[in-house]
């Protein structure tokens, strides 16, 4: 009989349909597996619909000793999951800003810096009113992106108009309608926090009789095949999500060996890939 494989757990709290739409997590998971599989460690992903179910999952996994480590994603400031996994004694790695991790190891993506880059990219092309359709503001990485965008807009004297979505295509449609009707003025460029919301935004912009990019430029976050196939093809803030996953895989193996290590693993820089949706 072969030895039981060790297992790393990842809980995603969202409707299963939304997971199906999000290339980010598919590529992140692929990167994790590239490191974990050769190390003989399996990766278990569980999709739950709310935070309470996520908490119950960690408690069950700890009680039944079903996982040797967990990867935490989508953290809020002062997230209760950090003390929870510590209390349960499960080695854990946080995907996010070190400020949310309270000393747990983190795979850090500079969300504030990348948001500044996106706004700067548009400012350099002459846009003065810029929209930002963000993910849920509950998440620390969303807040960091919003702060980064605000800082850059403030320094350059741009007007930033904002709306919140939930990463789904439908929420992108609705948030875009709010941004385009904003009292502060109609933006000539909109940055979206993921690809699906940007695709929804394209629909709304067209429904208003506006052209992309002649009237409104669009920048997606998280490049994907759907961004590339869109008409016009979307310019995107592209990061190597598979590589972020690989860093996460290495980090969790380190944490399983030495639970005290509070290392920050810095993800490679994201950059804008220019296609047809920006002028």
């Amino acid at each position: 009989m072969s030895q039981e494989p060790q297992r790393v757990g990842l809980v995603l709290a969202r409707a299963s349909q939304v997971l199906g739409e999000e290339p980010f997590y598919h590529e992140f998971i692929e990167g994790l597996e590239r490191v974990l599989t050769p190390a003989g460690v399996s990766l278990l992903v569980k999709v739950v619909t709310d935070r309470a179910a996520e908490t119950a999952t960690y408690e069950q996994w700890a009680e039944r000793k079903q996982v040797a480590g967990v990867m935490l994603v989508d953290l809020s400031p002062d997230d209760e999951r950090v003390p929870l996994v510590r209390r349960l004694g499960i080695p854990a790695v946080v995907l996010g800003d070190p400020s949310t991790a309270d000393g747990l190891p983190t795979v850090w993506t500079d969300d504030a810096g990348f948001a500044r880059d996106a706004v700067r990219f548009l400012a350099e092309r002459g846009h003065t009113v810029v929209g930002h359709v963000s993910g849920p503001l509950l998440f620390a990485h969303t807040q960091l992106r919003r702060e980064g965008a605000e800082t850059e807009a403030g320094e350059r004297g741009l007007t930033l108009v904002t709306a919140e979505g939930d990463y789904s295509q439908e929420s992108g449609r609705q948030a875009t309608a709010r941004v385009l009707s904003h009292a502060a003025g109609r933006p000539t460029a909109i940055v979206y926090d993921n690809d699906m919301m940007a695709l929804g935004g394209l629909d709304t912009i067209r429904d208003r009789g506006l052209r992309v990019p002649a009237d409104v430029s669009v920048v997606a976050w998280d490049d994907s095949a759907q961004c590339q196939l869109a008409v016009p093809a979307l310019s995107a803030m592209s990061h190597d999500v598979g590589r972020i996953g690989e860093l996460g895989g290495g980090a969790i193996l380190d944490a399983m060996r030495d639970a005290a290590a509070a290392t920050v693993y810095e993800a490679p820089k994201a950059q804008i890939v220019e296609r047809e949706s920006t002028t």
Binding site: A15, G20, R34, Q66
Partner: protein, 416 residues
């Protein structure tokens, strides 16, 4: 609970469906199990629908529909999700598939991993696990059973709500160790060990059924799916039923030849498109390009090398783009043959090969088919990209189970 185990009902052919099985469906003498399956399938592809529209679309009588829908609600397969206004002033109640009560589990045997997937009744993924395993090592039934027990326990899925397990694997190259037969032999023992029905299928075919189910493709469509991986497969769904061929090998698109004196293939033929357009062939081509070799990390595993090429291509590296686009041209030649042979109306590209660079393949196939498909002046052919290409085979396996359980009559007993 009614007996809807796939192993017992799935051997029906289309004609036999008309004959009620009696015991299990005593309450619905007017409408046999085929009607129940038809209703589930029409509700699935419609997303939401009223009973009146169901009558229009199925040709069944209102009383039959009322009885069947009542049973489906009692069984937790369908639920009412509110009302909509109607022109006659009476609100119509809408029904939809109730995703959350029952689950299907799929196992995909890859070259060095076992991917386990659990889905709800609409095809939404509720959990997945990738377990390392030795290369070319088919696990015995007791080990697969342990993985099934572990996976479902970690997800906290009660056994009574799991409709079954489907195990899928690539169709073996002729003369190579015969995965298909091995799996078929494991099937009975595995069923005994885990206490739920077990199906066996080839991975590309399963992926097609998964796309059919979760994209809510209507059974009216002539649907095909190309699965791009280290090999190339296809799956075909006609009238809501997966086309299975005589055994395990339907849809071997990778062994459609695109050159009568082309590269030799281990299958025995020459010029098989798999030798030109699989992810393995693409990695070989890229490794022969000194510039790409210097620029990109191509020396690691084949899958990470392929992803590096794909990422570079979509980020604007012209040489990486050229390698992938050439593969897409080769694939397009074979795709035209398949589309013409079967007169397909809708084609989805899936598999790990299209995860990052799917846009290149989709664009090339669209252009090529719009110039070459024989029926191009009579009907359109939609070419789409999968939303979950990397897990498509595992999701498809789980979808086989779900379809067999709630819309039976289309999934055969998988060569007992």
């Amino acid at each position: 609970m009614k007996d809807r185990r796939p192993g017992t009902v799935t051997a029906e052919s289309g004609e036999q469906e008309r004959r009620p099985i009696g015991m299990a469906r005593r309450e619905t003498p007017a409408a046999g199990p085929g009607s129940r399956a038809l209703i589930v399938d029409v509700v699935r592809s419609a997303v939401t629908i009223s009973r009146g529209e169901l009558a229009d679309k199925t040709g069944l009588t209102q009383p039959s529909i009322s009885i069947i829908v009542r049973d489906l609600i009692a069984d937790g397969i369908i639920h009412e999700i509110g009302s909509t206004g109607s022109t006659s002033g009476r609100p119509r109640k809408l029904i939809a598939i109730d995703p959350a009560n029952r689950f299907g589990v799929g196992f995909h045997l890859g070259p060095d991993t076992l991917t386990c997937v659990a889905i709800d009744l609409t095809g939404g993924v509720v959990g997945r696990e990738v377990v390392p395993r030795g290369p070319r090592d088919i696990w015995p039934a007791d080990l697969l059973a342990r993985r099934f027990d572990d996976f479902t326990a970690c997800l906290d899925l009660p056994r009574g709500r799991i409709e079954g397990l489907a195990v899928v694997a690539p169709a073996p190259v002729p003369g190579q160790p015969d995965t298909a037969t091995t799996l078929s032999l494991l099937r009975a023992e595995l069923t005994d060990r885990i206490g739920v029905p077990v199906l066996v299928e080839n991975d590309a075919a399963a992926a097609a059924l998964g796309e059919f189910w979760s994209r809510r493709v209507s059974r009216d469509q002539t649907f095909g799916c190309v699965y791009l991986s280290t090999g190339i497969g296809a799956g075909l769904v006609f009238g809501g039923a997966l086309h299975r061929g005589a055994g395990f090998d339907a849809g071997e698109l990778g062994h459609v030849s695109i050159s009568y004196d082309g590269r030799p293939c281990p299958c025995g033929n020459l010029g098989c498109v798999e030798q030109y357009a699989s992810t393995s062939a693409t990695v070989r081509a890229a490794r022969e390009d000194p510039g790409l070799r210097a620029r990109l990390p191509l020396d690691g595993s084949e899958s990470s090398a392929y992803d590096a090429i794909a990422r570079a291509a979509v980020n604007g590296d012209p040489a990486a783009y050229a390698v992938l686009d050439q593969a897409a041209v080769f694939l397009s030649m074979a795709a035209t043959s398949m589309v013409n042979l079967l007169d397909l109306g809708r084609l989805v590209l899936t598999g790990p090969g299209v995860a990052l660079a799917g846009s290149i393949y989709a664009r090339r196939l669209r252009t090529h088919l719009s110039r070459t498909a024989h029926a191009r002046h009579r009907h359109s052919l939609a070419v789409e990209l999968s939303a979950q290409p990397r897990d498509a085979a595992g999701i498809g396996a789980a979808a086989l189970v779900v379809q067999a359980a709630i819309a039976p009559g289309h999934t055969p007993g998988a060569a007992a």
